[in-house]
């Protein structure tokens, strides 16, 4: 799994090529730059807008103030026309009442505090208060009179303020008399008290640099008001700024006093009088608050900019670091990948070397064990048969020695080929070294197939081998066969047993095969020979008894033995009953054979009894021929008595067929035996046609279920049902049930669950010689493994 995810990672890393990294970097920088651009643009734009707004607001305020002041000024000056009317009247009448009226008007007027009437020549006719005329004023009066006689006579003119102590705030205003059209009759000089204007506007705060100015039409300053009051000083001219402008009102930016400080100036011209009111403030002053704010904003976004730039640089560095890391990982991944591939290749080759025989290409022992074990694991759940063959070439060493290893090797290769050709692909073929070949036959339909395959092998491999490095060779071979599960439940056991069988095979006759289970080996001795020999064998004690234990499923103790006869033939080795019992039955020697068995069993029981061993019943098989002998029961009982044995120590097993032949005699015999306390078991139950209903009429107390049912009990539901119902029925009839041919633990567990009383089979023990059986008497418990 880690390799898989590493693969993904590697692919991902490859996807992140140099270009992608660059694009990532570029994106980051681009985003940051756009962000900063947006922030700065917005801020600067808003700042410009705000500045424009501040100025616009200031201009509005200025203009409003200028309008108010000019309107007030207009009203004050218009009042001068009233004085002109009264003065004109006085000019006509010189009456005391006119004087009183003028004096009264002046006394109640807070704006004007003095009036003088001049004749057309400039001679003073009347003055509200005595005063000496200063020369400047006289000059202004003369000029006004001169202008009044000119083509464009002024109706009103504002003269210059005198700088003498008492007259600093006296604004002289000259009016033409009469006010109406006509020849000049005289000039009225009014004095406007600037204190009046100051008091009107002294509480208006127009800022540190704010100025209210009253200017002549030519832009010449008449008075200048500040936050602190009325200002005296140099009479700077506003002409440059305002004369060019013809509008009634407006705002502009200009320099006021030659100090190079730009001012915002708003002005309003009076409609009826040659005066202009201007309100101005220095731009610096107006924008001070705004600029402080702006500076704060700029500082903030400067800090922000530094942060963003810092983060971007950091980000780029991080990406670079990540990229280097990723590249390092990618490189190391590639190296690792290559290493893994190399290792895997080497592993595969090593495995190949380790698992196969280089010479023949067959699997070696190790691999064989591995494959075989997995096949056997499958075999446990299968109804099919498995067999292990141990194949050994005969006289291979001689060939090797005489013809050389080269020929030997070629021969082995050829044998390997032939083995492969002779067997199915599903079979496992291995070479264990030397000339030892091992074959696991898998999934056989029936046990007898093994015989055919073995014959086939022998035939194929023993064919002549031509031109092995120039030599023609023919080899024989010996095969040992062990069957699963009968001869072993695991591979080691099967191999061991097959090996043993192979040696048996070599010993008996080369060029053939031998089953580990001797019962399966077809004896090649001639029946004739045996027939001739059997009486002598009986007489000379060539026969022996082997004992197979019966195990109680309640406590797994050995509760009995079945005695089975073997013929220890001096030439042919151990011959099993299958090879000579049918023959004995045919010749009638079965009776003497049966007697011998009875005798031998009793003798053995007596021997065990004498040794003081705890005894269990021993069962002997009775043949049909024996059951025809009416005195059989008596003879059995006599024999028991002869050896001093209790009858219950003996059991007899009969087959269904042996009973059917002469049911009356046999039934009588069995009745007698049962009465004497000998139990009777029905052997191979299930193979014949008998039913339990029939059997219950016979004196049988035990049923032995045939091995063919037991074999398939796990895999065949039919067989399992037959076995289970047989057990139930037998128990209902009060019978004991023994199952034969138990080879596996699964079978054992199944039978125990089904309620079977006892079992007998290779699983616990194959038939064993008496010596081994005595050991079993001492330690009767057979714990299932």
């Amino acid at each position: 799994m880690p390799i898989l995810s590493n693969n993904k990672l590697t692919r991902l890393l490859h996807a992140l090529t140099q270009n992608n990294w660059l694009r990532l970097n570029a994106s980051l920088v681009m985003i940051s730059a756009l962000l900063l651009l947006a922030i700065w643009t917005t801020t600067l734009q808003r700042s410009r807008q705000e500045e424009a707004l501040v100025i616009a607001n200031a201009r509005t305020t200025q203009l409003n103030l200028a309008i108010i002041v000019s309107e007030n000024l207009r009203q004050v000056l218009d009042r001068g026309n009233l004085y002109a009317l009264v003065a004109a009247e006085w000019m006509n009448s010189h009456s005391r009442s006119s004087e009183v009226r003028m004096s009264t008007m002046l006394a109640g007027d807070r704006a004007y505090n003095r009036m003088v009437i001049h004749d057309p020549q400039g001679k003073q006719l009347y003055a509200s208060s005595p005063a000496t005329r200063n020369p400047a004023m006289q000059a202004a009066l003369d000029r006004f009179i001169a202008d009044s006689r000119g083509p464009a006579p002024p109706s009103l003119r504002v003269a210059r303020i005198s700088e003498s102590f008492g007259e600093t705030w006296h604004l002289p205003i000259l009016l033409r008399l009469p006010y109406h059209e006509g020849a000049l009759e005289g000039v009225l000089e009014l004095t406007l008290d600037l204190g009046y204007l100051l008091r009107l506007y002294q509480d208006i705060d127009i800022g540190r640099t704010g100025i209210i100015q009253i200017l002549t039409a030519d832009g010449e300053e008449i008075i200048r008001g500040r936050r602190g009051g009325l200002e005296i000083g140099s009479q700077d001219s506003m002409a440059s700024a305002l004369t060019a402008i013809k509008e009634r009102q407006g705002s502009l930016e200009g320099v006021l006093f030659g100090d190079n400080r730009p001012n915002e100036i708003s002005f309003q011209r009076l409609d009826s009088h040659p005066l202009t009111v201007a309100v101005s403030q220095e731009r610096e002053d107006l924008l001070a608050a705004f600029k402080a704010r702006k500076a704060r904003h700029l500082t903030t976004i400067s800090i922000l900019t530094v942060i963003v730039v810092g983060l971007t640089v950091w980000g780029v560095l991080m990406i670079r670091r990540q990229r280097l890391n990723f590249e390092a990982i990618a490189r190391s991944e590639e190296e690792k990948r290559a290493l893994i591939d190399q290792l895997e290749e080497e592993k595969r080759r090593a495995y190949e070397l380790a698992s196969h025989d280089h010479l023949t290409g067959l699997v070696n022992r190790r691999m064989f064990m591995e494959l075989g074990a997995s096949h056997l694991a499958r075999a446990r759940r299968s109804r099919q048969h498995y067999a292990l063959m141990f194949v050994d070439l005969d006289r291979f060493k001689a060939i090797n020695d005489s013809l050389g290893h080269r020929v030997g090797d070629l021969l082995l290769q050829l044998v390997g080929q032939r083995l492969r050709q002779s067997l199915r692909a599903s079979d496992v073929i291995g070479r264990f070294g030397g000339d030892e070949f091992v074959v696991l036959l898998t999934g056989l339909e029936q046990e007898t197939d093994v015989v055919e395959i073995a014959n086939n092998l022998v035939e194929n491999i023993t064919r002549p081998c031509t031109n092995l490095d120039g030599h023609d060779v023919q080899v024989g071979l010996s095969i040992g066969v062990a069957l699963y599960p009968r001869d072993g439940q695991d591979l080691d056991t099967l191999i061991r047993h097959a090996d043993a069988a192979m040696y048996q095979s070599k010993k008996v006759s080369r060029g053939t095969f031998t089953f580990f289970d001797p019962a399966l080996n077809v004896n090649k001795a001639h029946e004739f020979d045996l027939e001739q020999r059997l009486p002598k064998a009986i007489a000379e004690d060539e026969l022996i008894l082997h004992y197979q234990p019966k195990v109680d499923l309640q406590n797994f103790r050995v509760v009995g033995f079945e005695a089975l006869v073997r013929w220890q033939h001096p030439e042919h080795g151990l011959i099993f009953p299958g090879d000579f019992i049918p023959m004995a039955e045919g010749t009638g020697q079965i009776v003497s054979l049966g007697n011998w068995v009875l005798e031998a069993a009793c003798r053995q029981l007596a021997a065990w009894q004498n040794e003081g061993l705890p005894l269990v019943p021993v069962a002997v098989n009775l043949s049909a021929r024996q059951l025809r002998e009416t005195a059989l029961a008596a003879r059995i009982l006599n024999k028991l008595a002869e050896y001093g044995l209790k009858p219950s120590l003996l059991q007899v097993e009969v087959t269904e067929s042996s009973l059917v032949e002469n049911i009356e005699i046999a039934g009588g015999i069995l009745d007698d035996l049962v009465k004497a306390g000998i139990s009777v078991a029905l052997d191979d139950f299930g193979n014949g046609f008998s039913s339990l209903g029939y059997i219950k009429t016979l004196p049988i107390d035990t049923i032995k279920i045939d091995r063919t049912f037991v074999r398939d009990i796990i895999n065949s539901p039919d067989d399992a049902i037959i076995v289970e119902s047989t057990i139930i029925l037998a128990h209902n009839l009060g019978m004991h049930v023994i199952a034969e041919g138990i080879e596996t633990r699964d079978q054992l567990m199944h039978l125990k669950t089904a309620g079977c009383d006892e079992v007998q089979g290779y699983y616990f023990s194959r038939p064993i010689p008496a010596a081994e059986a005595s050991g079993m008497l001492l330690q009767p418990t057979r714990t299932p493994t």
Binding site: S103, A107, S128, G166, D193, G195, L198, G228, E231
Partner: protein
Amino acid sequence: MTSPFKVLIALALSLAVSVAHATPRACEDPNPLRFSLIPRTDLAKQLEEHRPLLQHLERALGRKVSVVQASSYSTVIEGLLAGTIDLASMGPASYSIAKNRDPSITAFVSWTMQPGTFVEDGARFYNSLLITRRDSGLDSVAKLQGRNLSLTDPASTSGAVIPRAEFSAQVGVPLQDYFGQVTFSGSHDRSVEVLRKGYVDAAFVASEHLDEVIRQGRIKASEIQVLWKSRPIPHDPFVFRGKLCPDLQDKIRRAFLSESPEIKKMLTNRKAQRFIPVSDEDYKALRGILAQPQ
């Protein structure tokens, strides 16, 4: 109260006025008597302070006393000269200006002020003071060069005339050349106010007015420092027109100098101690200054 005698007198008086109007050469006996005073602080407040005096005068003179509101010192001067104001409270300078133009105008009383931070007890004089805010760091006359200055009214003695004459002579240049902006605030009160607010850096004010502003708590003595002090100036005179009938002049003079409670009340209001008779001689020195060319 409405006795036939009094009605007769009233008739006679009104006749006298109309006769006076008809013949300007004769002395004037105006009814009502027109009183005015130079702006010192806001007018309503000033009137309130002087109300006991006016009440006393009305009773003593047997006529109404009307008040002419003055926009500036100039209003009072012109009014006296035009004959629209009969009696006025003026400054030494404004009196002198008027006197220069009409010698019949007469100063008849002045007062001594209650002692304060800057006015000495019982002194017949006060001073023009050049003050700055203590926290401005402007602690010498030299430092004030190019700084903004507040004057009072062009006709104010201590607030404009004395500085323009005496201080200018001392520093050698006209005020507007020595200082930066020079503005007229209109009154002593206002000069202190614009100084306090920082609209200007320095101001010339009368010591007695400064005392009053301090008394009112509008500024603390510790907040200001005095950088220059003029020579003594005689206190403000009360003046009347010379055209008033001698009898009326006499009555007025006696009314001021009487020990009536109203007079006392008015003096207390003005933080003055008592009225003292003065003559034109007392203000001659000032007239000399005003006659100098600017």
